[in-house]
């Protein structure tokens, strides 16, 4: 032992110590695995689920009617008694069945054996000779083959024989069983009745028993053993259309969120705390019958986050706000996962992700926040400077400046550019000058120099324009009334009527317009907007000259005296030279820019040309042409960065400047949108290096919508079935809806299929409806007392009208006064032909069941009986209380009554489809929600039983026909 190098005792001690350490480490490893977070949740959920299931059983028990239960039980008892009376017969029958069963089994076995042997023989025969027969040499097979065939046929007879024996026994068995059933029929019936009473209870009990945590389950879920067939296991969904891009490979995405979110698609857990809560919008999301079932969409398609992780922190949950962050830090030890690219999107912006799959539509139904974002992008004109795929051909968001000289004065332009909000707090145009990063007096002077230069440049470029319809001003009061009633407020807002749509609507706020334009320009514009600007979407309201005078008088009275009182920005030639010098020094045409060269060039410019040259440079720097049409710059691309994939731009590509705050893209967007120049703060920069994005001063909800929009602009490529691909019908609808949006039809009408409502019980309903009101039918705010005085809703329009009638109507609505009492006017839009067609086509496709494209309205004929019945019904139901036939109602009739609210029947034949009229008469509220038209045949009950035998169907048919008949010009 001494010749050993190491001491044995020491080695054994070390071994002993290490053995213990190994045991401890092993146990620790097992416990660490056993105690994984998600297993804890699944254990907890088992208890929760048991409670729910127990309660369901209790509820089912309580729901059973005690009387019928007792009756059924008694019936069973008495049946048992009856059967006891002839128990011996039953026993005999049982015995007979047993015997027959044994016999039948033997016989069937025999048949199966025989058949198996025969099949083998058949195979050999076919293998040996079948090919020859198939190839037509069946005549020369020889003796051996004949013999084999004969044997095969003989054997088949034997097989049939054995089969028959088995069948006979089977028949006997069935008879015996029938006999026995007859003996115990009373009990069977009683049991059936009892079961019927207990249906729900049995179902619930079954469900509960299936989930019972048995001893086997306990053993299966204990440490180590749980590696074999665990009760608590990872749940995962492989998503067919969504792929993760790992740069060198793209793989199907796998979501394991349901490992902890165990009841996310199960109703009944709405009130539980996370992670056991049911999804709050099960009708829309995840439900098996919703448009986004769990197994196609999963979780991360909308929420992002690391779908494969099964740990609260590592799956990259993102808190909604600071409060939640603090709670999470305490509860889950939450911290940011720096290296995870696809962090969860905070809940308030999730809607943005709809866009990732819904790429083909402009708006996404029910994604109100996103839609508001889309509308903001459109109205604020983000796409003017920033390219966004899919927005390339949208018209420029701001008015053309090609004839601006004829509309505005230089002084007004300068003051407006300096601060649009100082003119009108609801101005859409952002402020490019005198922002937070212009801190020194020198730079402020430079800003003024550029403003003046811009004004000079725009005036210089502008064509001359002479108003063609000057009129004297009329009555302010009458004008105000007209503006309130004829429909201006569908697109515009004016402070007198409440600024209900904020800054970002379809058209400018007119509260200060009197300080902006001249009288002559205004009257000409009101007469025909296209005279000044051919591409405007402002329609003509077919105003008469007195109306124009009155409206102009009212609008010209809307002034901003404070703005008028301030002086326009002024500058000196010297300052302008200084600023131009900065531009020229960077101009590649002058590179390398020596002082001498630059000074010489600037020295050649006189004061006017200096200002123009500076203006030209400023327009290029601030990108005015992104939103406005400016001569010579119509096709110049915008100056901003592309936003197509902004939502997935890596955060380190965003310049946080010297500011310290949360490093997330949404926090950055929020800061940027709040103050576009904020990231300059603290930095030392040359004048031309300063940030130049103009400042919109978006408020918090506006920023929220825009961030939602931006987060939806991703580089992700989603494939069907996860991605929404429009079918032919939906594509047609989308085409039409884009026209609807362009002309802001939804400003006045409720348009079906646009921004759908949430169900009444949906938790987010209130917020949802608030946003919806920002998007649709907003003129109705002014008709709160009686919205039937406002523009009619465009619901079921495709089933309702004939295209041949709509087309001319849209072209000149003035020719066909439908509802004479309405003061609000359907404008004449002067759209291109194609767009009229797209609207009509959209209606037809939305309604789906309308025959399309065109169907000639057939002349209707009424039989004398029908005619008589219809006339009676017309009188009895007092149709003409509201409707008229080929005449305008008198003012007295309109006063107080409903006449003039309902369409004149003279249009009925050309306008309406008969099927729709029938459907309307059956249930007016279904076809036009909120209509004043009463339903005369509720639930198919006729109010006039003595006409046409009280058959409501025939009555409706007669009335519908009669209405159309009236429309054919009869009286």
């Amino acid at each position: 032992m001494d010749d050993r190098f190491y001491k044995k005792e020491t080695l054994i001690k070390v071994f002993g110590f290490l053995a213990v350490a190994m045991l401890v480490a092993s146990l620790w490893m097992i416990l660490d695995d056993f105690g994984r977070e998600w297993k804890g949740y699944q254990r907890e959920f088992t208890v929760l689920k048991k409670k729910k299931l127990d309660k369901a059983v209790e509820d089912a028990k309580a729901a059973i009617d005690a009387g019928s239960l007792k009756k059924a039980q008694e019936e069973l008892v008495s049946a048992e008694g009856v059967i006891k009376g002839h128990q011996k017969d039953v026993d005999d029958a049982d015995k007979a069945i047993d015997e027959l069963k044994t016999k039948e089994k033997i016989a069937t076995g025999k048949y199966q054996d025989a058949k198996a042997i025969w099949d083998v023989q058949k195979y050999h025969y076919e293998a040996d000779y079948g090919h020859n027969v198939a190839e037509g040499h069946g005549d020369h097979l020889g003796k051996k083959a004949e013999k084999a065939l004969t044997r095969l046929e003989d054997n088949w007879k034997k097989v049939l024989e054995v089969r028959n024996q088995a069948s006979v026994l089977q028949m006997e068995l069935i008879d015996a069983q029938k006999k026995r059933a007859g003996l115990i029929a009373a009990r069977t019936d009683a049991e059936k009745h009892l079961k019927l009473v207990r249906t729900e209870l049995d179902k619930q009990e079954l469900a509960r028993d299936a989930e019972k945590f048995t001893l086997t389950k306990l053993i299966r879920s204990s440490p180590i053993i749980d590696l074999a067939s665990p009760v608590f296991r990872l749940q995962q969904i492989v998503l067919p259309g969504i792929r993760d891009d790992f740069y060198f490979a793209s793989v199907q995405r796998v979501d394991r969120c349901t490992t902890c979110h165990l009841a996310i698609d199960t109703p009944g857990f709405e009130g539980e705390a996370n992670p056991f809560k049911t999804h709050p919008k099960l009708d829309l999301m995840l439900g098996s019958r919703s448009p986004h079932p769990l197994d196609t969409i999963g979780c991360t398609a909308c929420h992002e986050g690391r779908g494969q992780a099964t740990h609260f922190v590592r799956s990259a949950h993102t808190p909604q706000n600071e409060d939640q962050k603090r709670v999470w830090e305490k509860k889950y030890g939450w911290r940011e996962m720096h290296h995870v690219m696809e962090k969860m999107i905070p809940l308030q912006y999730t809607e943005g992700k709809c866009r990732t799959c819904h790429k083909q539509t402009e708006y996404v139904p029910r994604a109100q926040k996103l839609d508001r974002g889309v509308q903001m992008v459109k109205s604020a004109g983000c796409y003017g400077c920033h390219r966004i795929e899919g927005w390339d051909h949208v018209r420029k968001p701001a008015p053309s400046l090609k004839r601006v000289k004829g509309k505005l004065t230089r002084e007004w332009i300068l003051k407006w550019i300096r601060s649009p909000k100082s003119f009108n707090n609801h101005a859409r145009m952002p402020a490019a000058f005198h922002q937070a990063n212009i801190t020194t007096d020198e730079y402020k002077a430079y800003n003024d120099a550029e403003i003046v230069a811009l004004g000079d440049y725009l005036m210089e470029l502008s064509e001359d324009y002479a108003p063609n319809h000057p009129l004297a001003l009329g009555s302010v009061e009458k004008g105000k009334e007209l503006v309130a009633s004829i429909g201006c407020l569908g697109c515009h807002q004016i402070d007198d009527f409440g600024q209900t749509r904020g800054r970002f609507g379809q058209a400018p706020d007119l509260s200060m317009v009197g300080s902006k334009v001249s009288r002559d320009w205004l009257t000409s514009w009101l007469k025909d907007p296209r005279h000044y600007w051919a591409a405007t979407v402002m329609p003509s309201l077919r105003l008469t000259d007195p109306e124009i005078s009155d409206i102009a008088a009212y609008l010209m009275s809307k002034r901003n005296s404070e703005f008028e009182g301030t002086a326009a920005p002024a500058t000196t030639e010297e300052t302008q030279r200084k600023v131009l010098r900065l531009y020229v020094q960077r101009d590649p045409k002058f590179a390398p820019a020596t002082d001498e060269k630059v000074d010489k060039y600037i020295g050649t410019l006189d004061a006017h040309n200096l200002s123009l040259e500076l203006g030209k440079n400023s327009v290029m720097r601030y990108g005015c042409f992104g939103c406005h049409e400016i001569k010579g710059l119509e096709k110049t691309p915008g100056i901003g960065v592309e936003l197509t994939e902004e939502g997935t731009k890596p955060v380190n590509k965003l310049d946080f400047g010297l500011l310290h705050f949360e490093h997330t893209n949404f926090a950055w967007f929020d800061k940027k949108l709040e103050n576009t120049r904020i990231f300059d703060s603290g930095q030392v920069k040359e004048y031309l290096d300063l940030l130049r994005m103009p400042n919109y001063e978006f408020d918090e909800p506006e920023r929220g919508s825009l961030i939602t929009f931006l987060l939806g602009q991703t580089a992700q490529k989603i494939l069907p079935p996860a991605a929404k691909v429009l079918n032919a019908r939906e594509a047609k609808m989308e085409e039409g809806l884009r026209v609807v949006h362009k002309y802001n039809c939804q400003g006045c009408h409720i348009v079906e299929g646009m921004f759908e409502s949430l169900a009444d019980e949906a938790p987010a309903r209130e917020e949802h409806e608030k946003l919806k009101r920002l998007l649709e039918g907003r003129i109705l705010v002014h008709y709160e007392e009686d919205d039937s005085l406002g523009p009619p809703p465009l619901v079921t329009e495709g089933r309702r009208v004939h295209p041949d009638w709509v087309y001319p109507f849209l072209q000149d609505p003035g020719r066909t006064p439908l509802r004479t009492k309405l003061k609000v006017r359907m404008p004449s839009f002067q759209m291109p032909n194609e767009e009229y067609n797209q609207i009509v086509s959209y209606w037809a496709h939305y309604s789906g069941d309308a025959e399309y494209p065109y169907r000639q309205p057939k002349a209707v004929e009424l039989s004398p009986t029908e005619m008589e019945a219809a006339k009676t019904l017309f009188t009895k139901l007092q149709c003409l209380n509201c409707h008229t036939v080929n005449r305008n109602p008198t003012p007295e009739e309109m006063e107080g009554g409903s006449k003039g609210l309902a369409p004149d029947f003279i249009h009925a034949s050309k306008r309406l489809r008969k099927e729709w009229v029938v459907a309307l008469l059956q249930d007016p509220n279904k076809m036009i929600p909120g209509t004043r038209m009463p339903g005369f045949w509720p639930d198919g009950q006729s109010p006039v039983p003595d006409v046409l035998g009280g058959d409501s169907k025939r009555q409706i048919e007669a009335v519908a026909k009669y209405v159309l008949w009236l429309g054919q010009g009869h009286n």
């Binding site: 190098f5 071994f15 290490l18 890596p650």
Partner: protein, 365 residues
């Protein structure tokens, strides 16, 4: 607060590559040649380890330091520092003991192990078995406590900043700061491997075989430890703890600011000669070989002169003992190794970029 800032600021600036590297080289030679017996005392290593631990513990109060040191990637390197210190001490202390014994005419400490054979079983196999258990326990506990530091999937167009090699290659990556990639990434690593392979053929000194000694193998131990501790471990420490975004230097208490800028105005030798000294009136010759003539002269001169110096002055006995072939290989390897710190010092002092700069042919030294 001011004092804390003063201290952290001082440490930050002391950690500058030029300062810390120079200090490390000086300390290295002092310890080996002057303070060896003091270093070999038990209390020295206890002090060193305690001070290191205390330094790290106190520095943990600083958020930046804490973030870097506790990053799961970097934890093993922190552990490595303690181990390196301990094993260096262990070797040196045994050397000192043996050297004393040899000087006193006694046997070396573990003569038996050094001279006689021991059994495979149980001496080797059993102790290996124990080691494997210890490693197993260590790995299991480590993997429970520190989750694997996985990052996002590698994106070829979006590399992380700083992009760092695995920790054991950070020394190589640090060399890239001073040398062209083909040298720092190909030639030097190749020379390291070749040099290590050649050690048994070049080193024919039978002394120190199986026991620790310094006096009997001064040159071998010094050159190996210099290469290992200074040119490998210290550079790993740099790469791990002190190199931040854009491979800029950051003090241990300095926030890794991606915007940090350093003046990078490095000048090639030829530019020095033609621009600064106005040779040929400041005009660079067209022909690259002419242009880089001085660079080639410098490089060849370094090796020729260096070998002459080693052969005739510094390592005269070696030349006699080893014979020509062995000696020239040794001299080449030693000079190559020395070229790294020399180039580093040239960079720090005169911003020298390349001695020979022929970017036209991707050939830079």
């Amino acid at each position: 607060m001011h004092i804390v800032e003063l201290i952290t600021g001082t440490i930050n600036s002391l950690c500058q590559p030029s300062l810390l590297f120079t200090a490390a080289v000086i300390v290295f030679f002092l310890v080996l040649f002057k303070w060896r017996s003091k270093f070999a005392e038990v209390r020295t290593i206890i002090w060193i380890e305690v001070l290191m631990a205390a330094f790290i513990a106190v520095s943990m109060l600083h958020p930046t330091f804490r973030d870097i040191v506790t990053k799961p990637d970097n934890v093993p390197i922190v552990g490595m520092l303690f181990l390196i210190a301990f094993f260096t001490w262990l070797a040196v202390s045994k050397m000192v003991k043996n050297d004393d014994r040899i000087a006193a005419g006694q046997d070396v400490e573990n003569k038996k192990e050094a001279k006689e054979l021991v059994f495979t079983w149980p001496d080797l196999v059993f102790s290996e078995f124990l080691c494997s258990i210890a490693v197993w326990v260590g790995l299991v506990v480590w993997s429970i406590l520190l989750k694997a530091p996985l990052e996002e999937p590698a994106n070829p167009v979006e590399t992380p900043n700083p992009s760092k090699a695995p920790w054991y290659f950070l020394g190589l990556q640090e060399m890239l700061v001073y040398y062209d990639p083909w040298l720092a990434g190909v030639v030097f690593p190749g020379l390291i491997i070749v040099g290590l392979i050649l050690v048994p053929y070049i080193d024919i000194n039978p002394k120190g075989n199986g026991y620790f000694t310094f006096n009997e193998r001064k040159f071998s131990i010094t050159s190996f430890l210099f290469g290992f501790l200074i040119l490998w471990i210290l550079l790993i420490v740099y790469g791990t703890f002190l190199r931040g975004p854009n491979w800029n230097f950051f003090g241990p208490y300095e926030v890794w600011d991606i915007h940090k800028l350093e003046v990078l105005k490095n000048v090639n030798l030829s530019e020095y000669i033609y621009r600064e000294f106005r040779l040929l009136g400041g005009k660079m010759p067209e022909n690259v070989l002419v242009r880089e003539f001085f660079g080639f002269v410098a490089v060849i001169g370094y090796f020729v002169g260096g070998i002459w110096l080693l052969q005739n002055k510094l390592l005269k006995e070696f030349y006699e003992k080893l014979g020509k072939a062995r000696f020239y290989i040794l001299a080449f390897l030693v000079l190559s190794m020395a070229s790294l710190p020399i180039k580093m010092f040239l960079r720090w002092t005169i911003n020298l970029k390349y001695i020979v700069a022929i970017p036209e042919a991707f050939f830079n030294i």
